[in-house]
Symmetry: C2
Subunit: 104 residues, 2 copies
DNA sequence: TCTATTGTTTGATATTTTTCGAACTGAAAA
DNA sequence: TTTTCAGTTCGAAAAATATCAAACAATAGA
């Protein structure tokens, strides 16, 4: 059975969220999800990165509260926790959307 | 003569700004400046940190575009680049102000 | 001029983070 | 059941970051 930890809205920590966004690969993933909704790992527009590294970045994004998974068969679909983020950090998601996608 | 590099508004990079804010000491400094305007190093509410480490953090904040210095005698006064940040990343400063000061 | 003050820079070390390949897990398909 | 597929976890190595003390720089004041 799959038990995974998602921080609640009040558990989200701004410093941790900023640290998560402070890596170019993770910023790219988040902007990708913010623009185009749900995606699985192969849908993130990042290149030249091993799947274990990608999994590591996903974990950091999830644990900071930025993204959430949905399991369907053998695939893990990820999406931005837009509503939760809007409530916890108003303006943040819009700021990410306003920004042209960073180069990897 | 003192020549120091401040990024222009268009040179500011969101990922670099987030990385700068992703450290608890630096987050504390930025929130302190956002709330109370200009301060010199001894005015930052951070403890148990050497002056060389503090200087290092200040450099990262300055180079990311978050803060700017003003030299007066032997003191260096730092302030948030609020207007520039408002223009480049609308909502960011307000988000920092909405957040209760992080614990060191 | 000498000294104290405010802060930066340098060099070194410790810690954290990023990265990968290999092994593993769970689910679907053959 | 065996294989394949999508992804995670583990263990190790490399790279980046945080930290400090000591040395340095610039200014103000005695």
């Amino acid at each position: 059975m799959k038990t995974l930890t998602l921080p609640s809205i009040s558990e989200m920590d701004l410093t941790a969220v900023c640290a998560a966004l402070g890596d170019p690969v993770r910023m790219k993933i988040v902007q990708c999800l913010a623009r185009s909704g749900e995606k699985n790992c192969s849908g993130f527009e990042v290149e030249h990165i091993s799947k274990s590294t990608l999994s590591h970045h996903i974990k950091i994004l999830r644990e900071s509260g930025l993204i959430q998974p949905r399991f369907q068969g053998k695939e893990h679909f990820y999406s931005l926790r837009k509503e939760d983020l809007d409530r916890r950090f108003p303006g943040m998601v819009e700021m990410l959307l306003n920004e042209p996608a960073s180069k990897e």
